[in-house]
Symmetry: D2
Subunit: 458 residues, 4 copies
C-alpha cells in the first residue's frame, strides 16, 4: 500500500513524501518517483498525514454497562474520529482490578474492537496486591479515584481510595512497576463542602455545577497527590485537568525536575466554558466541570508552553433517562459525555483558528501518548518499522456537528459540541495498514483491533 503525495506531519517536522506500507508497518518514506507501483494507492495530495490519534482516556462501558456503550459502537466512534487506538479505563462491571477481569476484557475487546487498544488496570485501597500482576499482563497504566461511591460498587469496587495512608501504599506499589498512576483529581471533602452550601441555599440548577466543584477542589487534589508522587517516585498523570490553576501546580513540579509528573486535558476544557450548561444543561455536566474563561485562558497558556503533555477525550456516554434528571437537580445527573468522535475535529478546527499547530496536535494526541504509556515507537510516530497507524486530514473539509449522526451508542451524550461548525476533518483512518474509515464512513471490521501491551510487558 502506498500513500502518495501527502504532507507528512510529525512533531518535529513537516515534509512531502510517499509512505509505503507492508505487513501493517511503515516500510518506507520515499520520494514519489522512486516507487512507481503498489497494490493499493491512496492519493493524499493536498492533505496531511499524521500518526493515528491515540485516545488515552476512554470509557468503553463494556463489560457490564453496555446500555451506554460497547466495544463495537465505541471503537466505530473512535475510527470515525481518526483515532487508531484507545486506552480503556477500568470503570466497567466488573472493574478491571484483577487478572481475570483484565484478561476477560482483553478477550472481549479483541473480538469486537475496530481499532487497537490498551487497557488500564484499576487500583484502589482494596486492590493493592493485584498491581504487579496487572503490570505483568501489559496494563498501560493504573487508574484510581480518590473518592468513594458506596452506591455504585458494581462499577467502582477496588478503584477508589479515600485514605492518604492507602494512597501512599498504592503509589509505592505502582512505583515498583515502572508504570504510571492516573488519578482523578478532585477533593471529595471540598466538593461536599460546597455542594452542601449550594443545596442549603436552594440551588440545584445546572449552572451551579461548577460552583459545587470549585477550582480549589482540583488544586488541592493535584497538590496533594503531586507531593506523594514526589515522595514515592511514582509516575503520576493527572487526566482531564480542567483549570489553569491546577495545571500551574504541575508546572511547578516539572520546574523542580519531577519529570515523572504529567498532565492531560480534553478538548471540552479548551473550547467550552461553564456557560455551555445554560444551553445543554446536564449534558454539559462532566467532572471536573467546565470552568470559567479565565481558567481556560490559563489552561491554553500551559498547553502552549508545553506543560500539558497529552489530550484525551474522557469519552463516557450516559443514558438520556439519567441525564434528564439533571435539569431539575444537577446533582442527580451522572457526569460524562461522548467525546471520542469529535476530539480530533475540534482540535483541527483550533488549528484552523490559529490556536495551535498541526505539529502540536500530533505531539499531544499521538507521540506523547505513545511515549507516556509505553507504546512508542511502535505507535505514535510515522517511521520505518512503526505500525502503519495513520490519519489523513483534510484541513479544508467542513461539517456542522450533528449528534444524530454520531456512531456512539447514546447519541444524546454527544451534545457537548453539537451544532458547532468545524473546519478540518479526518478523511481516512488507517490501522496497521488497513483503512477503517474513509470519508466519514466507518468500514473497519469488529475484531480487527489488537490488544497492545505496555512495552515493558511486550
Amino acid at each position: 500500500m502506498l500513500i502518495k503525495s501527502g504532507t507528512i506531519v510529525r512533531a518535529d517536522s513537516v515534509f512531502e513524501a510517499d509512505i509505503a506500507i507492508q505487513d501493517g508497518k511503515v516500510a518506507g518514506i520515499i520520494e514519489g518517483s522512486l516507487f512507481p507501483e503498489a497494490e493499493q494507492v491512496v492519493n493524499a495530495q493536498g492533505k496531511y498525514v499524521l500518526a493515528g490519534i491515540i485516545d488515552p482516556h476512554n470509557h468503553m462501558r463494556e463489560p457490564g454497562i453496555v446500555e451506554r456503550e460497547d466495544w463495537i459502537t465505541g471503537t466505530m466512534a473512535a475510527a470515525a474520529g481518526g483515532v487508531t487506538m484507545v486506552l480503556e479505563h477500568p470503570v466497567s462491571v466488573p472493574p478491571t482490578t484483577s487478572a481475570k477481569a483484565f484478561l476477560d476484557k482483553k478477550a472481549l475487546a479483541e473480538s469486537k474492537s475496530l481499532v487497537d487498544f490498551g487497557l488500564f488496570g484499576g487500583n484502589g485501597t482494596t486492590s493493592i496486591e493485584q498491581i504487579p500482576e496487572l503490570a505483568a499482563l501489559g496494563a498501560v497504566a493504573f487508574k484510581t479515584f480518590i473518592w468513594d461511591y458506596p452506591d455504585r460498587q458494581a462499577e467502582f469496587a477496588g478503584i477508589t481510595c479515600t485514605d492518604d495512608d492507602a494512597l501512599l501504599e498504592i503509589f509505592e506499589a505502582v512505583a515498583k512497576t515502572g508504570l504510571m498512576q492516573d488519578l482523578h483529581a478532585e477533593s471529595k471533602s471540598v466538593v461536599e463542602h460546597y455542594t452542601k452550601k449550594l443545596i442549603a441555599a436552594g440551588r440545584r440548577d445546572p449552572m451551579v455545577h461548577e460552583d459545587s466543584r470549585p477550582v480549589l477542589s482540583e488544586v488541592e487534589a493535584v497538590s496533594r497527590t503531586v507531593m506523594f508522587a514526589m515522595e514515592t517516585g511514582c509516575r503520576l498523570n493527572i487526566p482531564h485537568i480542567s483549570s489553569g490553576s491546577a495545571t500551574a501546580v504541575i508546572k511547578e513540579a516539572k520546574k523542580k525536575g519531577y519529570h515523572n509528573i504529567t498532565v492531560e486535558t480534553c478538548p471540552q476544557y479548551l473550547f467550552l466554558t461553564k456557560e455551555r450548561l445554560a444551553e445543554i444543561g446536564p449534558y454539559g455536566k462532566i467532572n471536573p466541570p467546565l470552568r470559567s474563561k479565565e481558567e481556560q485562558d490559563k489552561l491554553w497558556e500551559y498547553l502552549l508552553d508545553g506543560t500539558i503533555d497529552t489530550i484525551g477525550s474522557d469519552h463516557g456516554p450516559h443514558l438520556v433517562v439519567h441525564k434528564e434528571k439533571g435539569w431539575k437537580d444537577i446533582f442527580a445527573a451522572p457526569a460524562g459525555s461522548a467525546a471520542v468522535e469529535t476530539m480530533l475535529p475540534v482540535m483541527l478546527n483550533g488549528v484552523n483558528q490559529g490556536r495551535l499547530t498541526l505539529q502540536m496536535v500530533t505531539r499531544l494526541m499521538s507521540e506523547n501518548v505513545a511515549k507516556l504509556y509505553g507504546l512508542y515507537p511502535r505507535k505514535g510516530v510515522i517511521q520505518v518499522g512503526s505500525d502503519a497507524d495513520l490519519v489523513i486530514v483534510d484541513m479544508n473539509k467542513e461539517m456542522t456537528v450533528d449528534r444524530r449522526q454520531a456512531y456512539t451508542k447514546e447519541k444524546e451524550s454527544s451534545r457537548m459540541f453539537d451544532g458547532y461548525h468545524l473546519v478540518g476533518l479526518p478523511v481516512m483512518t488507517i490501522v496497521r495498514g488497513t483503512v477503517v474509515m474513509r470519508d466519514g464512513q466507518v468500514i473497519g471490521k469488529p475484531g480487527y483491533g489488537k490488544f497492545v501491551p505496555h512495552l515493558q510487558a511486550a
Copy 2:
C-alpha cells in the same frame, strides 16, 4: 519607677535612655539628666531592656491536668524566663470550646497567674457554633488539630477536625470574626502510613520518631490548609513549624500576597536536631518532631529572611511515668516538653553566637506576637502609653541549664536543653511596672496576672 541607663532594644532601633513607669504603663522614655527622682530606681547600666516576651504557644494544663502543670507553676516558669504574657492553648479538661469553659479558665487563671495572659478558643468539627461567642469574649485566636484522639476525649473533645469539609466550615466561620486560626499541621494519614511501616519493620525505638512523622506529613498539611486559608480569607497561623520545607510553602503564599498566612517556630527546632533523641530518648519526643540538620538549616534561612513571624515555646510538660514508656516503645510515650523557661535564654545564647540579633529576638518574641494576636500596642513595644512589660537582659551572664532547678512542675520534662551552657540571661522580668523576677528568683504574686483580651473585644 525608673529604669535607668539601660540600652533599649526595639525591633527598629537600639538606644540608651531611661524608662519611667507610672500606673503600670510606660510614661516616658527620657534622657537620664531630665528626671532626677523616682520612687524606685532600677539600674540597667550595661544591660538591655526589651519589651517583655509574649509566649504565643503555651499549654498550662489547668484546669484538669494539674499533675503536669498549673497556672501558678507554669507562670512562675514563664516569669523566670523573661516571659510577661502567655497565650494559653485550649487543651485542658474541659477543652476551652465554650463560653463557660472560657470564663471558668479565665477566672481560674486570674486567681493564680503571675504574669498576664490571653486565652485561645478551641474549635473543631463539633464546636463551630461557639466560634462567635468565644471571639466576643476576647479569645486571642482559635486552635484546632487536624487529627483525632478517640482515647483522649477529655482533653481534645471539640478541638479536632479530620474532615476537610468541616475544616472549610471552620475557616469560613473564623474568617468572619477577624481572628486567626492556629492549626497543628501534620497529616494524620501520612503519619499513620509511615508509622505502620516502621512497626512492621520492628522499629519502635526513639530514633524512629522522626521517620514516623516525615517532613512530607508537615508539608502536605501546611499546603492543604494554606490553600483553604487563601480560598476562605481566614487568617491562618501554623504554629511550631519544624521543617524548612514546610516553611517554604508559607513563603510562597506570602510572595503571592497572602499576608493572612503566618508561621511560628520554636527554639527547639532552631537549636536541636533529631539526633538529640539518642541522648534523651522520649524526653526529646515532640510533635512535629525534631528534624535533620538540613531541614534546620533551611528553617534558619526562613527565620533570617523574615518568613517566620514568631517564636513560641510549645510549653507542655508530661509525667515521667508516661514519658519513660518511650524508651522501649517511642509510640507509647506522649509528645511534649517544658519549654517556657528556657525559650528566651536559648535565643539570647543564639544572639551571642551571632546567629541572630537582639532586635530580631524582640520582633519575633514580642512585637510580632502582639501584632498577630491583637495585643499591640498595649503589649509588644516599649512606648509611651504601652504596658510597662519589660525584660532586662544581661548578655554576659551565664548558666548551665539544670532541669532540677526548673520552676515547672514536672522538672524532667525540661530535658530538651538540659546540660547546655548558655550565655545571655534575663535578669529582671517586669509586668505592668511590677518586678516579678529578679536575678532568677521569681518574686511575683499569684493572681497578679491579668487577662488581656484581643483588642477587638477590648
Copy 3:
C-alpha cells in the same frame, strides 16, 4: 521645649506623646501628665509629628551658579517644605571634587544655610585620587555622571565618566571608603541614538522628550552599573529612578542578596507622567524624563513592596531664559525643576489619597535616607538622644500650589505641580529644637544650619 499632644509617626509605630527637647536633642518622649512645664510649648494636638525630612538629592547651585539658586533661597525652600536637612550634590562651579572645593562649599553653606546639610563628593574619570580625602572630610556619598558635557566643564569637570574601565576604577576606590556611589543612570549612546532619529524625523517639540531618552536608556545604564557594583562590592545608589522597568533590575539584585544596591525615586515620577509636558512644555523637562502611566504603575508597585529605598527631590532650578528655548526645541532647554518645597506636600497628598501611609513617608524620606548616608541615628528618627529635627504635619490643611509664592529663586522652575490642589501640609519645621518654619512662613536664620558629616568621619 515641649511638643505637646501630637501623634508621633515613626516607621515602625504611631502613638501619642509629648516630645521634650533640650540642647537641640530629643530629651524625652513622655506622657503628657508627667511634664507640666517647659519654656516653650508647641501644641500639636490633632497633628502628626515626624522626623524631619532629609532630601538626599539637592542641587543648591552655589557656589558659581547663583543666578539659579543659592544656599539661602534653596534652604528657605527646604524649610518651607518640611525639610530639615539637605544632601547637596557636587554640580557647582567649581564642582565638589577636591578637598578645597569641599571645604569652601562647607564654609559657604555654614554661613548661609537655614537647615542642616551634608555634602556629596563629586567623582569621575579625572578625580579618582581625591576619593579618600573627600571621604575623610565627611562626604555623605559620591556622585558621578556616566555622560560628558564638553560645553559645561565649569559645572561638570571631574564628575563625569564615560568609560567603563574608569568607572570600575571609581567603584573600586569608593568601595574602599565604605561610602555609597550615586550615579545618574542613563546611557549616553542610547539617548544619542534616539535623539538623532527624532531630529532626523523633524521632531523637536516637548512631547518627544521621553522618546529621546527611552526606558531602555535607563534600564541599560542601571543593569550595567549594578553588575559593576556586584563585582566590586561598591555600594551603589541609583537616584531619581523614573521607570518601573529599571527598578525591576534593582529588585532582582536585591533578591540575589546584593544589599549594597539601593534606589531613590522622586515625587514627580510617582505623580506625573510624560503627558504633563503638553501643559508645561520645557518646564516639565527633567532627566530622566517623566514616563508613561504603565511605567509609573510599576514604579508604585516597587515603592509599595519595599524595593525603592528613598525619595529625593532632585531640586535643581534653571533660568526662564534657558527653559523658554525648549518650546521650539526641547533639546535646547536644560533639564531640571525646583522640587524641594513641594516634595513633602505632594507625598502627604498621596497619603490622603490612600496611595501610601505616613509611616512609609517617614521611612522613605527620613529614616532610610539617614541610614544610607551615615546620619542615623543622629538624624532620621524621633528618639531620645537624636537631634530634635521634626516636621509637624496637618493632614487636613489644604493649598493649591502657586509657583509665584515659592521660596526658590527661580519661581518659574516650580511649575511641575503648579496648580495642583494638595491636602496635607507641613505646618512647622524644627531643626535641632529651633523652629525654622511656622505655618508656611520661614523664620529660620541663615547660618543656623550645620554641616553634618557621614558618621564614619564624625
Copy 4:
C-alpha cells in the same frame, strides 16, 4: 546509493533503516527488504547515521591570510571531522562587508571548498548601508565585534562597533532583513580595566589570561546587547559563550519570551578549563577565555536544559611564530585555535562518557544550526527531499589526538585537545551523496562544495 542497516539518529528519534540517495538528495528511508539493489552500497551495520555536522563558526582565513589557513586545508579538516558544511565568518582580507567582497569570497570558496558552505556578512559602524545587499546575496547571518582593532584594520575594517548608538542602528537595520546578528560578546572597557591592573601587578604569564577577561566582561556585553535585541526586535545570537553566568542572562531572556535570542558554545568551553593553559600556554589562548570548573558546570547545566542552541568550533588557526610570544607575554599572543577537525569527536567522546546523547549532538550541531541560519530543511535533517549530507559514526572507534596528523594548515594550532584519548569517531562524511571522507582519509575534491544561501535569498 544506499546506506544499509545503520541506526539513524535524529533529534527526535532513533531507528534502524536504510537510506536511499539519488541526485544528491535523500530519496527514501526504507526497510531493508524493500530495496534490494543500488549502484553503491555502504554498510552501516552497528554504526550511527547522523545528518552532517554544520559548523556555524568558522574562520577560513582566505582570502588574505592564507599563511594560517585556506579553503582547501580548512575544508579538508572539516570533512575529516564529519562536518559537511561550514558557515564562514567575515574576518579575512578584505573583510566580507561588501557585495564585491562577498561575491569574490563565494567564487573563491566555490573553486576550493570540499564541503558546502555559507557566508556571514560582516557589519560594523562603517558598513551599515551594505546590510540589505549582503542579505539579498544570501548571507546566512551578520557578524560584528563590539571592539576595535586599530592595528588590524586589514582584517577588521567594517566589522567592529564600539558605540552603542551605532550598534542600535545596526540592530535596527539587521532586524529589517529578518536575518540574525552574531556578536562577539566581551566588553572592551572591562577587559582593559583588568588587563591594566594585571600588567601593573607585573603579570603577563599565560595563567592570567582569564583574569584579564573575567566573566563580568562577558556578562555585561551579553546583558547589554540582549537588551538592544529585545528593544529592536533584531535576532541576536551570541557565539562561543564561555561562562554559565552569561548564559543565564540568555536563559532569562528566553523565559520572558524573547525567542529571537540564541546562543552557541564550543567543545573547548565544555571540556577544558583555564588550567589547560598551564600545559599549553598561549596555544590555549582563545577569546573569550577558557573558564573555571564552576562556570563550566553551569554551562553544562544550560546545555542540558536546552538554553544553549548550537555548538560551533570557532576554528581559527594562528601562526606558531605569533603564538610563541605568549609564553612570556600572554597579551602579545593572538587568540584562536584550530578546532573544526576535533569538534565532533570531542562531543562523541562526551556521549560515551554519558554527558549528553547522540540525539542532542545532532540537534545542537546540525538541526538547530540549519534552522537558525536559514538552511532547514535542505540541511540539518535526514528526510526525504533533504540534501544527503550525512556523517556515519562509529561509537567504538578510538584515537589519541595527535596534532601532527591534523589536516589544518597550522598544525600547532591544534593543541587544545592534543594528547586526549577519544572514543567515538566519524568514519564517513557524505556531502550531497558523495563520500568526502572515509575512515579518516579525506577523499573529497576541492571545488565540489557548493555555496548555500539563506533560504530567504534562495
